[in-house]
């Protein structure tokens, strides 16, 4: 790796080019995790996830100047991705069925997946999108409650309560399956 000292020593006369390269590299680095997050929030709809991440990247680039601390890119970008997913759900681009609280859940073309999935996966996909957001940030991204708050724009109390509710629902689903098996 070129040491950061090398990078700074050379200098960048072409400011726009430097911004472009910096953004492209940061986005490239965090693309896999953003895509996985969007895939989960959007209940496994890969095409929607791809569009959401692309929307998010576009928004991020348009507001790249607002990011004051580049070491916070991941948190900043994740928040934009979460919002892009919310927009997609809000715009009813997913025709929603199987919701638990009216906020939306599984898209029709994911129903096939559900039939084959185990109880836990089925339960995960029938969580509301807002609950999937916190579950994904907690278990895909390994973020703390405070970190999840920073990435969702929610207060920590809200995050904690959503996580609690989600885990309770998931535990109920697993318990139900175990009862089913032992019957």
């Amino acid at each position: 790796m070129t040491a950061s000292g090398e990078m700074t020593r050379v200098g960048f006369e072409d400011r726009e080019a430097a911004r472009q390269v910096a953004f492209a590299r940061l986005a490239n680095t965090h693309l896999d995790s953003a895509y996985r997050l969007a895939t989960f929030i959007l209940a496994g709809d890969h095409a929607e996830a791809e569009d959401a991440v692309q929307d998010a990247a576009l928004r991020a680039w348009e507001h790249f100047d607002d990011l004051r601390d580049v070491t916070r890119f991941e948190a900043w970008f994740t928040r934009i991705v979460v919002n892009a997913c919310r927009d997609r759900i809000g715009a009813r681009r997913l025709r929603l069925i199987g919701t638990t609280d009216g906020e939306g859940g599984v898209a029709p073309d994911q129903v096939g997946q559900l039939v084959d999935a185990d109880a836990l996966t089925r339960a995960l996909l029938t969580l509301s999108p807002e609950h999937r957001v916190v579950v994904a940030l907690r278990y895909l991204g390994d973020h703390s409650i405070a970190e999840i708050g920073a990435r969702t724009g929610e207060r920590t109390g809200t995050v904690r309560s959503r996580l609690h509710y989600a885990l309770r629902a998931l535990r109920a689903a697993i318990d139900a399956e175990m009862r089913e098996v032992s019957r």
């Binding site: 070129t2 090398e6 200098g11 472009q20 390269v21 492209a24 791809e50 185990d118 998931l170 318990d175």
Partner: protein, 654 residues
């Protein structure tokens, strides 16, 4: 079930459900966003921030630009000098003045404007990453890095080389049945990457090999990987659909993967028939019969997924005839093919590449090359050799594409090496290069490459009187679009007439990791991968970098580490091309004093050879410990010593 067990199950289920990496198409689209939509520059205070930002970007990511010597500016929005009809539109080294406001049409403007070239691997005495006899058959930009597929030794063993960043490379030979297989190609699939190859052995129907009456076939084998490093072979039941077939070209598009081949009858008096298979995921395959029915003599030699569908090029004379007029086919869905309109030509077209706004097909005959261009793959026209900026010969240029642009790496007609880019296959833009542009083998040899978000990877195999040699180059899309003149490496050591090795001359790897008595480390190997003799004298600079980017500078060890030999004085090690020198390094795995834990381990080591200025990053994974190099007591590094004095390093593993 307690909370911990519940969380464990949820974590597993969530990760299992969302386990795919970002598709290459998304990576490409996101990578193109800054170039497609320049935001208005905010002039105030940018320069200082950008410098800092770039430093942070470099430390946050594993992206490498190992050289920093680019001189030409082709800034966004400036008039892009097209190289049509001009051997060298922008001579390397001559700054072009940007003219803001005169934007060129976006569709015809390739994004790549500067590449920083590094020789990353080369066969030669003692090389372990790329060993004598290794050949590379397939290249792919994957998950932000690169993959190469090839064969080792006498071509009987499959090898994958994987790099997350173009600079750190891993050699993978331990996948299922690699020891009895040969690899031919790599192609992206929805949940990772597919490697296509064959068994090294002939099928039992024709065990004696090529005879007068028997067509030998090496049965097709497939492997899939989600990350490029761990590979699973698909079972024989999944590849039974291929039957007795010979592999042809493969391409992946939005609708899935398309593979061409030939059914080989056992009786060699019978003609081989073209065959096509398609797959959505690379795992299950369906034979498609329309092409074979419509074009029974069709020989598909090149295949690409373009904007509107798949384009195939080749000839229409059956598998037996080596040279024939070229032809082309087009399919919107990869299943139904029609003949494309083609100009008359003297030779078959063997490769086809797609740009954003046009496609390029290439074939070669004698010492010349036949080029065609097409806006869409449905209708092709001849390209006048005088209208392209490069000399189009049977060996060059190497053409690579990522679906958005096509890059040519070759030589000007005057002979100087150069790089050019196009997105419409018609108007070419010179691409500035820092570092030496890799030479394309001119005699018997082959080159293969791929283009991705980081830039170009290129593997060249040359057959010379001295034997076969393979080298792998990376051309990183340079962050340094305009810089001051090249930073020079430190002056050579006064005690020798041989210049100090520059970082770009060396392939640096960490080898033979080990440990004991609270010390864990290994050896740094400095292989002269250049064509020139150079020397190393003294201690390399070594910096341990943790996953979060925390850095630790190693202290210079004077007394010896690990199995470091007793050496008096500080030797100057002269390295002829292909020779290696070594230095030992170590960290500690016992907490210091009353501490019970250690700081986070080092994930990478930044190595700067003595006398050089540029650091190279290598993985700090310790195979002996099966963990990253522990950071309990910092790092130490020894002086560089000749290979002859180093105890036998076995196994010389990565």
């Amino acid at each position: 079930m307690n909370d911990e067990q519940l969380e464990h199950q949820v974590r597993q289920a969530v990760r299992q459900f969302a386990n795919r990496p970002a598709p290459e198409s998304l990576r490409r689209r996101v990578g193109a966003i800054p170039a497609m939509r320049p935001t208005p520059a905010r002039p105030a205070a940018w320069i200082g921030r950008v410098r800092w930002l770039m430093a942070a970007a470099a430390s946050l990511t594993t992206v490498i630009v190992a050289t920093a010597i680019v001189v030409v500016t082709l800034s966004r929005g400036s008039a892009v000098p097209t190289a049509t009809g001009s051997p060298s539109a922008v001579p390397s080294g001559a700054p072009a003045s940007p003219t803001p406001g005169s934007a060129a049409p976006q569709s015809a403007t390739p994004a790549t404007r500067a590449l920083g070239w590094t020789l990353v691997m080369r066969t030669g005495s003692g090389a372990s990453l790329l060993q004598d006899g290794d050949t590379v058959a397939g290249a792919l930009s994957f998950s932000g890095g690169y993959l190469l597929a090839g064969n080792a030794g006498n071509g009987q063993n499959a090898v994958i080389w994987q790099s997350p960043d173009g600079v750190t490379w891993h050699r993978i030979e331990s996948a299922p049945d690699f020891a009895s297989s040969q690899l031919r190609a790599l192609v992206p699939v929805p949940d990772g990457v597919l490697a296509l190859g064959t068994s090294s052995s002939l099928d039992p129907l024709c065990p004696g090999g090529e005879g007068t009456t028997c067509n030998p076939v090496n049965p097709i084998r497939l492997w899939i990987s989600s990350d490029g490093s761990s590979w699973q072979r698909l079972p024989d039941s999944a590849t039974a659909v291929f039957g007795r077939a010979q592999l042809g070209p493969v391409a992946a598009g939005p609708g899935g993967v398309v593979l061409f081949g030939w059914h080989m009858p056992v009786d060699s008096n019978l003609a081989a028939e073209p065959v096509e298979w398609t797959s959505h995921d690379g795992r299950t395959w369906q034979e498609q019969s329309q092409f074979a029915t419509a074009f029974p003599l069709g020989v598909v030699e090149g295949l690409v997924a373009g904007r509107d569908g798949f384009s195939a090029v080749g000839r229409n004379t059956g598998l037996g005839s080596p040279h024939a007029p070229g032809t082309a086919w087009f399919s919107p869905d990869g299943r139904t093919w029609t003949a494309a309109r083609v100009p008359s030509s003297t030779d078959d077209q063997t490769s086809v590449l797609a740009g954003d706004a046009g496609m390029l097909a290439a074939g070669s005959i004698g010492s010349g090359r036949v080029l065609w261009a097409s806006p869409d793959g449905r209708s092709w026209t001849s390209v006048d050799p005088a209208s392209v900026p490069f000399a189009a010969s049977d060996t060059g240029p190497l053409l690579v594409s990522d679906g958005a642009e096509i890059i040519a790496i070759g030589a000007e007609r005057a002979g100087a090496a150069g790089v050019w880019a196009t997105s419409n296959a018609t108007s070419w833009t010179a691409v500035a290069s820092s570092g030496p542009v890799p030479p394309i083998p001119t005699a018997a040899g082959s080159t293969i490459g791929a283009l991705g978000p980081l830039g170009v990877v290129m593997a060249a195999t040359a057959n010379t009187a001295g034997g076969m040699s393979t080298s792998v180059w990376v051309g990183a899309i340079s962050s340094d679009l305009r810089t001051s003149p090249a930073p020079t490496e430190s002056p050579m050591s006064a005690s020798t007439a041989v210049p100090a090795c520059a970082s770009t001359q060396l392939a640096i790897t960490a080898v033979d990791s080990g440990g004991g008595l609270g010390t864990v480390g290994g050896w740094l190997r400095f292989l002269n991968a250049s064509d020139a003799t150079c020397s190393l004298h003294g201690w390399p600079s070594l910096i341990g970098v943790t996953a979060s980017g925390t850095t630790t500078v190693a202290t210079q060890n004077q007394s010896g580490l690990l199995t470091f030999p007793a050496i008096t004085g500080v030797p100057t090690v002269t390295l002829n091309p292909g020779e290696a020198a070594f230095a030992a390094y170590a960290g500690g795995d016992n907490p210091v004093g009353s501490a019970t834990t250690c700081p986070p381990a080092y994930h990478t080591l930044q190595v700067t050879p003595p006398g050089a200025t540029q650091a190279v990053s290598v993985s700090a994974w310790n195979y002996w410990l099966n963990a990253y190099t522990p950071a309990c007591v910092g790092l130490e590094v020894t002086m560089v010593i000749p290979a002859s004095t180093v105890p036998e390093l076995e196994p010389l593993r990565p």
